[in-house]
Symmetry: C2
Amino acid sequence: MRYADTILEIIASSHSHMTAEQIFFALKQQYPSVVLATVYNNLNALYAQEKIRKISVAGYPDRYDKNTRHDHLVCRRCGALLDIHLSDLTRELERQTGFAIEGYDLKIRCLCPQCRAKEQAANQAYESPDL
Amino acid sequence: MRYADTILEIIASSHSHMTAEQIFFALKQQYPSVVLATVYNNLNALYAQEKIRKISVAGYPDRYDKNTRHDHLVCRRCGALLDIHLSDLTRELERQTGFAIEGYDLKIRCLCPQCRAKEQAANQAYESPDL
DNA sequence: ATTGGAATTAGAATAATTCTAAATTTGGTG
DNA sequence: CACCAAATTTAGAATTATTCTAATTCCAAT
């Protein structure tokens, strides 16, 4: 996996949550001949090694993130992901479920600040339309 | 949405977590002329009305579930979903994040009993292979 | 240099889902 | 009841994301 380290760096240094395609374009800056399938190969391998996380939200392509313990806010409206750091639930979940837990994935549905502003504007318009 | 109620019943009475295609085949029993796109239309509408939940796990098609408060165990190996009922985290998440939370989605990664048995068998075989 | 295995490439294939336009159904109104 | 408008369904094409396959290239060890 010649590109694995570069891909890891791209993901680690990104403040957004990149799709395979975005990672592909970033990698292309350095290696113009690289191909999308290679990115998928590498991402799948890195994911299998638990070096990265994969975030699936219905309606959006999978996004990739560093594998540090944190959780995500997902904007209901635009799909944006925001990292948040909550207390670790593993112990409590093991206690409540009785299962050996390998990890968990907590996505909190809310509105990101931008979309909240837009929805409020839309509601205002509805309540007092400019006719 | 002529089929919405029937689809709701199919989902409500299912003990598995059905894909759009499985729901489509179940609906076809009663309405043989129905078409997959209609199922998607209805599922999307029901989801928008928050009458059902949609569960996305990377590598598997979306699955649908009743919209009662519960969480899921996801088998790392076969993708099976199991319902579990944990204490509600909403208040605590709002406290920790300061966001107005509309809901959350907690998926716990583990091995389902069947896959745990298979992995143990595989490990046994590896440690003491029958040569 | 030669070989073998792994990774990459190119591009076809697949799977899931959405889109579009036409046809049908439904509900309300004269 | 007959008609119209709006909403829904249908059929099938289109799109998107991802995986697969086979050929090629790369690299390390002989």
